[in-house]
Amino acid sequence: MKIVTARRISQVFFFALFVWFCIVGTVGDKFWQLRHWPVNWFLQLDPLVAIGTILTTHTLYASLLWALATVILTLILGRFFCSWVCPFGSLHHFTGFLGNRKKSAAQKIRLNRYRWPQCIKYLILIFFLAAAAFPSLAATLQTGLLDPIPLVTRSFNLVLLPLADSPVNLASAGERFYEGAWLILAIFFTAVLLNLVIPRFYCRFICPLGALFGLLGRFALWRIGKNQTECSDCKLCETHCEGGCEPAANIKISECVLCFNCREDCKDEIISYQSRPSLAGETANPDVSRRGFVLSLAGGILAVPAVRLSNKLGSNWHYRAIRPPGALAEEEFLKRCIKCGQCMRTCPTNVIQPGGIEGGLENLWTPVLNNRIGSSGCQLNCVACGQACPTSAIRPITLSEKKGLGEFADAGPIKIGTAFVDRNRCLPWAMDKPCIVCEENCPLSPKAIYTQVVFNTVRDGVLTVKKTTDKLIETVEENIAPDKFATGDYYCVTETGERRKITANTENSIEISPDNQFEKIPAAGGKIEIQVRLQRPFIDIEKCIGCGVCEHECPVSGRKAIRISAEGETRSANRRLLLTWRPVI
């Protein structure tokens, strides 16, 4: 079996595995659902995630230890990950192959020559690592923007899969929506289509993970190279070179992705994977100028405090960015979130959405809740997002911690925000219309929404009595909408202040229940008032956890009459509403 065959099988295997992990992302116990499938494995294998979080948090979190395996193999073998494992890389490889099929060998060789902008990916890597490197001053983890594994994960999970699944709804129970998906798709498509210009465009010019592998592969025990000096210089080895590393001449080892196409294409078997350097010469170090290095480093270091001049981590914090329960305090959160979108994929109610830049640049594609999307706000008895997060930007909390039970009873439940009733839009507050959908749907017990009853005279509600019979009050006015007041929410109040529920009405009469007659019958010529009984919602901010079910259910469907705002979230000491919350020390 040829090594390139093994490589192709490996690419198909890992790509299929990746797609499978995307498909099974829905929580459930069926075979095609989440179960215990290790859907974060690619993210855990990704050393850029591990190294990024090591820089920002000075720890290597749990399962990110897998990255050590990748690092060790890279140190020994070279940049194998790019052409044997990386699903994004395989996609680029395949697209490039499709695009180049009809081209001549000479054209292909020209496309595969080394170009100096291939150093840009190293500058991108340095920029991101510099931005992450000084957590005691200001550090942020932005590798997720261009790191291929998070990128391809969110592209598939948040865009391609919902598009493919929407007609059949096999992968998830209902339709899935993700805000700003167009941008994720645009970036994804651009990256993929650029392969029609130059093969593996992303891998060669942009990918910071590839750059990292290029750096790690410097001491690889075996490398591609010529095993003899006599060579006809036909350059056929470069026809299908994936890395753009020029194996025909002085091979740039840091660009070689170990696709072995050169070895396969060389008819004279001059190219081999060998322990000694290529006899045509090799360059182990990437071609990064000192100027480029310094500029990227400085840029990365300066970018963080520059972005933070917006004071989004201070008093100008973004209050509509409700983070999932278990999320760390914002500064710590931004040190861990790799924008992979796994929490959004896993969330059973589809309420976790990719954030936009209205919350600051760092907010892009981080998880924020939008209670108007999905089936119901944040479900009370669900902790799926924390389980899904590979870096513990959202901690894997237990249900007990989320609800403040057992050992967490002292600390109380986790709050992600507080509901605020917009009295200018709420039906019972502003429109004299009865409604308590929010109170009914509050999942807490006792509820965090309570109501106070108020009676308001309705519009044109003062009527003149013509005659009162057994249970019927006939009115002088004859234009009352029939049965308008029969819903059980309307009451008739006499001049003496007696109030009785209206059971029915015609155009000119009001009927009250025979079991509950007036003590002092309203006399002819007197006035009665029709009143609506309103239950006006109030929020008990000590109990409200900000789950958003009320916002989701509010019938004022545009700008909701009850909205969650992040004040009071327990993850932040300086955003509390109430005095009495005590941080867990």
């Binding site: 116990d29 179960r35 499938w37 059973p348 008895n381």
Partner: protein, 340 residues
């Protein structure tokens, strides 16, 4: 030439080795994929999907999977029932609950991971108030049972346990009498009470209203409605006393105010008379006009303060009267203390 062949052999060997590694990876991943336990996510997807398809007036989605005891896993999906379809699960017993304020039933089965014969079925009845839960608990209580220590209101039979936790009436029925299964059921009961009634003490205030001497332990029952077949006796507690070798049942109910108590007492008294009872004379002054002979048994009904109380179906008039007096004294004490 042989070196070429060796190279090709080496290449083949390496390629196949790599494929073998891939196969091992696939096997390891598949093995993880066979683990169906999703309790770490907390949620019950079936329930979530129900809320997605239900109308928006959704109730609390109850998660039973988190109450699984150690070594057990869920068997069968969670089921919920409302008053409309409760009979689909418990058939004729449904009115027992629906007439006592029943809101919802949550039920699920758990099975031991080690031994598939150890199965338990869990019923959690949301009865809306503590009193309602206690009512269905106490009125269904089996005679001659062992109390279950560690819970406010709980008893066990050889294979099942029954308890009240806040507003929930809980039955855990084991499908065998194995001790191991029972211990797991107790663990489940503890998890449930921890989950449902965290920080809440299940208390029924009225239980302390009965005079404590000679009470038969755990014999207090609560009839939410229709105590003794009379619809005017709602919210009525009954309690058994062992006096000598006689067992006497006393009852009481708190009303809004003394007027309501008096009218309730009168109503029951008249009910007894109109159903064949005859007024009985009594030597005890305060019980005058309060004693009825009902087909050979003595019934006493009185009102004191906001309480209606009395004795039900007593064999011996004197014993009944003594107990009635004790009850009146205790209740009027409480009534006076309440006034202050």
């Amino acid at each position: 030439m042989s070196s070429v062949r060796r190279k090709k052999q080496l290449e083949s060997a390496i390629s196949i080795f790599i494929l073998a590694v891939l196969a091992i990876i696939a096997a390891a991943i598949l093995q993880k994929g066979f683990n169906t336990d999703i309790t770490r996510f907390g949620i019950d997807t079936a329930a979530i999907q129900k809320t997605q398809t239900q109308d928006s007036k959704s109730d609390v989605v109850f998660e039973l999977a988190i109450m699984v005891p150690a070594g057990f896993e869920t068997l069968s999906a969670a089921e919920t029932y409302t008053a409309e379809n409760l009979y689909e699960k418990i058939n004729g017993k449904a009115p027992l609950y629906t007439e006592s304020g029943f809101k919802k039933l949550f039920t699920r089965r758990f099975v031991s991971k080690q031994n598939e014969n150890l199965v338990m079925e869990l019923f959690i009845y949301d009865m809306d108030t503590v009193k309602n839960a206690f009512s269905v608990y106490s009125t269904q209580k089996r005679p001659d049972v062992d109390a279950l220590p560690g819970f406010a209101f709980a008893y066990r039979t050889t294979n099942a346990l029954y308890l009240v936790s806040d507003k929930y009436y809980i039955e855990i029925v084991g499908f065998s009498e194995a001790q191991e299964l029972f211990e797991a059921m107790v663990e489940t009961a503890e998890k449930i009470t921890g989950e449902l009634a965290a920080g809440k003490v299940t208390e029924i205030a009225e239980m302390t209203l009965f005079p404590p001497e000679n009470i038969v332990p755990d014999s207090i029952k609560l009839y939410v409605a229709n105590a003794f077949g009379f619809e005017g006796l709602t919210d009525t507690f009954t309690c058994r006393y062992k006096l000598g070798d006689e067992t006497v049942t006393a009852f009481l109910s708190r009303r809004e105010n003394p007027e309501d108590a008096r009218s309730a007492a009168d109503a029951y008294y008249n009910f007894l008379l109109s159903n064949g009872g005859t007024a009985k004379s009594t030597a005890v002054k305060i019980l005058e006009g309060r004693v009825v002979d009902f087909y050979g048994t003595t019934e006493i009904v009185f009102a004191t303060g906001p309480f209606v109380g009395g004795i039900h179906e007593a064999d011996n008039q004197k014993t009944a009267e003594d107990l009635a007096v004790k009850l009146i004294n205790k209740l009027s004490e409480t009534a006076k203390a309440g006034e202050k």
